[in-house]
Amino acid sequence: MADRRPMGSLEAQVLGVLWRAEGPVTPAEVREALHSDLAYTTVMTILSRLWQKGLAERMKQGRAFAYGPVMSESDLAATRMRAALTATSDRTATMSRFVEGLNKREAAALRALLDEADG
């Protein structure tokens, strides 16, 4: 596809690696796990962006940093003060939200489907 990969997409790829990893991972390990031709510096940049946003933790490992996922909301809040975005569903009506509202019958149908997907 001619389109450039959006930053969100690269960040998601890298986060995916952090979430699947057993422990902290180095940028080189992330790059290897991605199986892509991303430059090492790009991976570094994405990791440090995620750290700045409080979505990843980092720790010194030898001379470099190793990164791990942030697992809870309290870590998220402690890591970084975020801009108070007033994100509520009635103020995002013109955006593409992940799910729309549900009525009772749909909720029941979804619970059945969820059992099916889990099973």
Binding site: P6, S9, L10, M71, R91, S96, V99, R111
Partner: protein, 294 residues
């Protein structure tokens, strides 16, 4: 109203209604594209028809007619464009314009807080939100409770879905048809279909990326039920068109119907709508040329 005016309008509406059946026949991407084109054509045709009626009626007024020199040859005799019809047409046009401007303002004000979003942003809120913010830089906003409430695979699925919206520029389709629907509310059902088609499109794209339809289905169901627990929606105008339909489509993909049939319906829909609206615009153009030249 003379037949020349009514026939294209009927054709336009017919094409638009036929579009409603498209979702079952073609891929979500084709559906979104064809329906968006149909909606734009229908809105254009409708606007042209209203302008035409307004102008035809004003040509009946001797004051206007003398001043501008309308040519009556184009609509000879009693074509029934009575002044009251003109007033109604112009009234509808004004209301439509106001509604359109209001919609654009709403989009702008809703997007304003997210101008600085660059990549993935987790916002601390218990509201189960996740949405794509188009534009540059653009990104994905997720509520913290949703983010940490899902397992890693589901979270990744949500991100893949929202990133698919950005990659395929879905906001262009959605904003275009919702503007048309804001202007002419008879297009609201079709606009909903386009929105649903973009959701299905993003689902298919994300399922391919993560390599599991089941994981994405589970993520949609879980987020939808979280939202439901907070504020159940009384009723959807198109029930069965929301989350459960998406989960259903992911878990039980329907083999695409016969290709020719699907293409025939797509092109039929588009052609009918385009034909309808282009006749409309053609009328208007002829009218303007006569008005200006005579």
């Amino acid at each position: 109203m003379n037949l020349l005016l009514v026939a294209p309008l009927l054709l336009t509406f017919g094409g638009a209604v036929a579009g409603l059946f498209l979702t079952r026949l073609v891929s979500p991407a084709t559906c979104a594209r064809v329906l968006t084109a149909a909606v734009v054509a229908a809105a254009g045709g409708m606007a042209a028809a209203l302008v035409l009626v307004g102008m035809a009626a004003s040509s009946e007024l001797s004051a206007v007619s003398d001043a501008v020199g309308w040519c009556r040859a184009l609509y000879p005799g009693d074509h029934g464009a009575a002044p009251w019809a003109g007033v109604v047409a112009v009234g509808i046009l004004i209301v439509a314009a106001v509604r359109g401007v209001r919609y654009l303002r709403r989009v702008r004000s809703e997007h304003a807080p997210y101008k600085t979003i660059d990549g993935i942003e987790v916002v601390i809120t218990s509201e189960p939100i996740a949405f794509a913010v188009p534009g540059r830089p653009g990104g994905v906003v997720m509520g913290s409770e949703l983010f940490f409430g899902l397992d890693a695979d589901e979270r990744f699925a949500v991100l893949a879905h929202e990133n698919a919206h950005l990659r395929h520029h879905h906001h262009r389709y959605v904003h275009t048809v919702e503007l048309c629907a804001a202007v002419f509310p008879f297009l609201v059902p079709l606009a909903r279909q386009v929105r649903f088609a973009t959701e299905r499109w993003a689902d298919e794209s994300a399922a391919t990326e993560i390599g599991s339809r089941r994981t994405l289905a589970r993520a949609i169901a879980r987020v939808a039920l979280m939202s439901h627990a907070r504020e159940p929606s009384p009723a959807l105008a198109f029930s069965g068109r929301g989350s459960s339909a998406r989960v259903q489509a992911l878990l039980h993909p329907v083999a695409p119907r016969r290709f020719e049939l699907a293409m025939a319906v797509s092109f039929g829909t588009l052609a009918a709508t385009l034909a309808g609206s282009s006749v409309q615009v053609h009328h208007l153009a002829l009218f303007l040329v006569h008005a200006c030249l005579s």
